[in-house]
Assembly symmetry: C2
Homo-oligomer: 400 residues x 2
């Protein structure tokens, strides 16, 4: 059978091979990118579905508008307004089947084969592959702990005239980095200056541990004239409420949003109204702030425990910035005193010691940095984290 040529653009084996090893008994995994299911508000979600079936059984179970279930769109607009986003009404957002679908719709709507897209190096692996499936040439912009280097970004924009710039400005995956307020303004100015769509993917912004991060690009866009016209924003309920509902959303300029709606019509018709009606009732019932507070406290404790254990067990073999939110700790093997500097080798040795993580190289669209790796602190409790870091230390010191 001859498949579509676009499939030649993607390569998924690197991480898949690793994930196959995760089935080993007794393994402690920091490889996943998901929230802890023990923190889900099962009873709140159950009550929300009950309410949906009591109040609107027809709507909750029937086909719905491609744009989304109207009560949910209204709740999501309220949720964003509470986070400082002005002038985004229910009608300005499109509900998507997880924010992964928002990325897919952006690819389908915007990218012709050969178009260029700039992403952070490193960035979310599934974004790179999603855009490549639409024929994009994906270009990597350097980042540091303050997020993307805006001077380097401007040079790349001027040189490549990309169709889109894709950023995870807050608690990035995998970097954990957060774009500074100053750089956020600069990014919005660049969008206007180069008339280029900037995509803000923001699944982690709510998951801060102490101080709130700077306002989202979407919130900030009201202060940078013209920038809203070049900004798309992807939101998600997956990291706090439940990934299994598959409820995300896309805010985008009207012409783009309308085309994304058309593409969605032929992608999956609409997002599950059952899940949407449940999410709407949950938000309406007002349970989100308490759930968020609980999740933040647990992840903050785990992040701190992981940072401390990592420092204790691996010492100067690693460098990292303690995460202020999100799910991830991004680590670099320093190679100090001749210690191991290849994260792929460490990953293999770690599996032998009963601990798993994802090496950093696949997260780079270009110029992979093989000394990096990603640890998720979200799903293991503190005792498991400490045991896991001890095993990681053993893996580092193990003979090849």
């Amino acid at each position: 059978m001859q498949f579509a040529e676009r499939l030649n653009q993607v390569e998924t084996s690197a991480i898949r091979e690793l994930f196959k090893l995760l089935g080993k008994p007794g393994i402690i995994s920091f490889a996943g990118g998901f929230p802890d299911s023990a923190l889900f508000d099962v009873e709140g979600i159950r009550a929300a579905t009950e309410a949906a079936l009591d109040e609107e059984p027809g709507a909750a179970l029937q086909y719905g508008a491609t744009e989304g279930h109207q009560p949910l769109r209204e709740e999501l607009a309220r949720l964003m307004a509470a986070k400082g986003v002005r002038d985004v009404a229910a009608g300005d957002l499109l509900v998507t089947t997880g924010s992964q679908q928002a990325l897919d719709l952006l690819g389908k709507t915007m990218i012709s084969p050969g178009d260029k897209v700039i992403v952070e190096g490193p960035t979310f692996l599934a974004t790179i592959q999603c855009f490549r499936l639409y024929g994009a040439e994906v270009i990597s912009a350097p980042i540091d702990e303050q997020g993307v280097d805006v001077e380097a970004l401007e040079k790349l924009m001027a040189e490549h005239q990309p169709k889109m710039v894709y950023l995870i400005p807050t608690f990035g995956n995998p970097s954990g980095a957060t774009l500074s307020l100053e750089r956020r303004r600069k990014v919005l100015e660049l969008a206007v200056k180069y008339q280029t769509l900037v995509v803000e993917d923001d699944p982690y912004g709510d998951l801060y541990f102490d101080a709130a991060p700077p306002p989202s690009l979407l919130a900030l866009s009201s202060e940078v004239p013209g920038s809203r016209a070049w900004l798309a924003h992807c939101g998600s309920l997956s990291k706090v409420l439940s990934p299994g509902l598959r409820v995300g959303w896309l805010v985008a300029p009207t012409a783009l949003r309308e085309r994304a709606v058309m593409c969605k019509q032929f992608s999956d018709a609409h997002t599950s109204t059952y899940a949407q009606a449940t999410a709407a009732q949950y938000l309406k019932a007002g349970g989100m702030p308490a759930t968020l507070a609980r999740v933040r406290a647990v992840y903050a404790e785990r992040a701190r425990a992981m940072g401390e254990a990592l420092r204790r067990e691996l010492g100067d073999a690693v460098s990292f910035v303690a995460p202020q939110g999100g799910l991830f700790l991004w680590v670099r093997l320093t190679g100090a005193r001749g210690q191991l500097q290849d994260a792929n080798v460490l990953a293999k040795r770690a599996i032998e010691q009963g601990v798993a993580f994802v090496p950093g190289a696949p997260f780079f669209a270009q110029n992979p940095d093989a000394s990096t790796f990603r640890l998720s602190f979200a799903t293991a409790d503190v005792a498991k984290i400490e045991e896991g870091m001890a095993r990681l230390g053993q893996a580092l010191r193990a003979q090849a």
Copy 2:
């Protein structure tokens, strides 16, 4: 903003313009393509979600495998086995976000720009648009009340060497036609002879009124050597259980299915596990046969009432074949005795009389037949159907 070139391939205005008019107060609509929400088994679905949250709250709310929730895959394999499908195990099917997504994944996986796809004329509008978005040239094969004309189909296959042949063999949308057993065998033989993927879209097969239709192509493929390797089958729970769950599935040869899984990973990661776990529990509880029996009885009554009223009210101005299942009645304006023969004109006059339907022309990928139109008998009760057909008769006789 410059959008992707693929958007130039699609045109959705025809039906959209019509749907805008449906908001008119008091209108009786036969335009929809959806089941009657009054027939949904709300309590059975509620109990299924309760069971999912009691037994597997983590799995029902967490990220899941892209291939689908394993308990649901097993129930769907059982469901198909009960309909005579042999040798399809849980692992042979991919759960999709409604069967619309199965079509999208087939497009993404199979179609390179310029590839040809043969469909029935008329066929499901969203299939045409979905495949065109991937750059397909969509070619129309003629049908009659026995489904696709297999001789014409073979000529088109020989001439165009298509990447796929897409059929709705049972109670087609919009045609209502069902492919005969003899033609089914021939289609499978053509798939093997021309080494061409045949896609069987089967959302309506369970909705028969009296005698069961011939076995699905998937069931029949065990009798035609080599044909399984060239057959994809799309199933759906939308027409009987609930469209709002968005649960469909794709059965396809391994190499194709694996690539569709990869494409789905970057399309929406996976279908809502909440909806999947609910569907799995519903099927496991054994409620499907009773629900199906109730739905069949109601639609059979409405189909008969519509046929009789249509004959009574419009007489020799129309020709149609009484449907034996599904949701649709496909009508041709005969133009007898100088009567109106343009369904677009009739549609506009009908709206003025307070009744709506979809003209047939947009359902044709090529050579639209402007004398045809589609009536859905699923969502209006018998009294509404009779009133609606009376209004349609008035519309026919109204002065332009």
